[in-house]
């Protein structure tokens, strides 16, 4: 019977162990579901769609969620009572018959995003639904990378943002840090490019601003933003490689963020790519990928001074295009090493899409041929055959966009929990 030859889809077949399964099919920890979990799941699913689509009709929610009209109506009413969505008549009725109400996120629910970079701090106020209401940027005072200065500077910038929206309900503050952040409490174990080791950053910052703070690794947050709203929408197996002074990696595996047992996973910048190198990396090792493709490596290789940042990289790319041999050679060299590192990423993760962030996007665009040649030569046939490589959709903004999503996450997972948040007056900083 031919129909039985290959495992039928409806029986699972090969799909049973693919990325579509949220956990191993025989997950030992699987538990029963009651009516309250059922309702929480459905409230969460509805609010998540409204948050990601911005504005969506009851009719499309009914189709998208596979629930009937009356269930959708009840869920929408609950979210309206929670102050998370509003319902309105559609602006234009396209067909005859009763028009379907349109749900919209209430933009007076806001997340504060903070990006602590090596050279600057960026803060932004992001509304439920994803609109960026305000944004600020401030360079670090020279030599003031230390936690105390960073917290004070960031706290003042957060206050500036919140006073601009006095009526908003602040759902929390999300912070992106270029280092290893412990998932359980946001303790920063290791941020070499800031010079931080074992800093209770999240606790200190929470005490200073009086609001709940979520802290994450910049690349882990970057891949989340690209997955939800950027260059990796619709892809469940994603590698995000963020290149600046250092190299950070953020990964989605079957739609699940790769964090590891404590939140330190994804350190592809320290993969050994050149065993014969003698140049020491900030991690203490030699031959790390980041010592071959970091911004300063390119700048020095091209005869420039280190520390030029993304602008310095852009200048080298322009000079190479204008025919400067030393700049062109530096790009060729870095292009080959980008390929060498991406080769490992492809063989280990077999991603559907690789999103390049920070300076690495510009470097790849300038030397795509060199990168591709390295990959075609050295990557295992199978995973290479269908990987897509793209530049980040948000550029330098991916990490703080993801930081905002990290703040929305618990409310999206359990919308009723928003009631347990303090009111604007209490949540307001200072």
């Amino acid at each position: 019977m031919p129909s039985a030859v290959v495992a039928p889809r409806h029986l699972g077949g090969h799909r049973t162990l693919t990325k579509r399964s949220a956990s191993p099919p025989t997950s030992p920890t699987k538990t029963g579901l009651g009516q309250d979990q059922l309702r929480r799941n459905n409230l969460s699913a509805l609010l998540t769609r409204v948050h990601l689509h911005g504005s969506i009709s009851r009719a499309s929610l009914t189709r998208g969620l596979g629930l009937n009209r009356s269930t959708i109506g009840g869920l929408a009413a609950t979210l309206e009572d929670l102050g998370l969505v509003t319902e309105r008549q559609p602006s234009a009725v396209r067909q005859s018959g009763r028009p379907s109400l349109v749900l919209e996120p209430r933009r007076d629910n806001v997340a504060v995003a903070v990006d602590i970079g090596v050279d600057r701090i960026v803060t932004a106020l992001v509304a439920l639904g994803g609109d960026v209401l305000h944004q600020r940027q401030r360079p670090h005072a020279p030599g003031e990378h230390d936690v105390t200065h960073v917290i004070e500077s960031a706290a003042q910038m957060v206050e500036d943002l919140l006073v601009a929206e006095p009526a908003a309900r602040c759902l929390g503050i999300g912070v992106s840090v270029p280092g290893a952040v412990r998932d359980s409490d946001g303790f920063v174990r290791f941020a070499p490019n800031l010079g931080w080791v074992d800093q209770p950053f999240t606790e200190l910052f929470s005490e200073r601003v009086g609001t709940r703070v979520f802290t994450g690794n910049d690349a882990n947050l970057g891949v989340l933003a690209e997955h939800l709203r950027g260059a990796a929408v619709g892809h469940a197996d994603v590698a995000y490689v963020n290149g600046s002074v250092g190299i950070g990696g953020g990964f989605l595996v079957g739609g699940v963020p790769l964090h590891g047992s404590r939140g330190y996973a994804g350190e592809v910048g320290h993969l050994l790519v050149d065993g014969s190198s003698t140049l020491q990396c900030r991690c203490g090792n030699v031959g790390c990928w980041e010592t071959k493709v970091g911004e300063n490596q390119l700048l020095v290789r091209a005869g420039r001074l280190p520390g030029g940042g993304p602008e310095g990289v852009a200048e080298v790319i322009a000079a190479a295009a204008a025919g400067e041999k030393r700049a062109a050679d530096a790009l060729d060299d870095v292009g080959q090493w980008i390929g060498a590192g991406l080769r490992a990423v492809i063989n280990v993760f077999n991603p559907e899409v690789i999103v390049l962030g920070g300076s690495m996007a510009a470097l790849w665009q300038a030397r795509q041929d060199v990168v591709d040649k390295t990959l075609d030569r050295w990557t295992l046939m199978s995973p290479r055959s269908d990987v897509i490589i793209r530049a980040s959709a948000f550029g330098l903004a991916s990490p703080w966009r993801g930081a905002a999503e990290m703040v929305f996450a618990p409310v999206l997972a359990d919308p009723a929990s928003v009631l347990e948040l303090s009111t604007p007056a209490q949540a307001g900083v200072g």
Copy 2:
């Protein structure tokens, strides 16, 4: 208010993006749940516990699943009707009052497991609940690695097993292959150590045996077995590294198997660890991890002939213990390269536990000090601090144990689907 300083657990806090979340909290694909999915989930959760625990009382199921007694009773009755479990009075009543019925898996539901190794084929008949009823092993005829010979040989071995249990309901055949297997249909893209490229193995084998066949990569199946019943029980972030002639990697990320976009992920054997090496790997590259720590590399380094397999490796370890310098030096050298590769695994995945399978377990046990020294020197501080390294619980059997679980998976995920399987008479091979 101090209680609000650090993000409260019940609001998600830092947990929201950790491995405990089955998908990103703002998963764009999250859908609604209806009553039928609710019931399927609960049937699945109950059968999964019975399958993994072998025998479990209604009382502990009530506690473990968080469902009430009557719900458990109804679910148990349905599974009994499906012929998947039996209920019996407990053998010994320890306390007064009504004794709680005990559920057991019906062992006449069987999975056939097939492990296609480089030198031999192993087959086993595994019952629901995990008991191994029968096992067979047969070496490949010299030079008969090709798909046609392997399929015929394996099919005969499968027939031998099934005639031994004529009354059993065969849930399917699970096959472990040492190569890149496409998730969607079990097509084998690349199995270098068998010399297979682009082979429709699963389709051909299904046609030959007339039963549904599931095919997976050996290391991906190995980590599943170790997670469900072996050295990684209770761990959600697991790295399984299987070393023999080649090196295979199987990973669990937040409890989700790492398969990648097509099922080719986990190829850590081809990570570059020695840029100065000139020895070419079977993948066509040079400097791959597997060229430094594969069985034959150790044997040649120790002055033995390649092809000695696990027995050859054991002989070298014994000779080194007996004082043979050349053997000891070879082990020291391989031990350092094992450390170099595990360093990358730790920095990229930050696993809770690394399970070593095949010859690598023995090599690590023989040179644990050398491996640890390399890790302590070169691994990033954070992920290194709490990783556990262990030998596989099933040794060479992990891949076929996992292959059996791959067969049980769709039935555990949707127990009612077992009705759509053909009866023993029809499912019987031949």
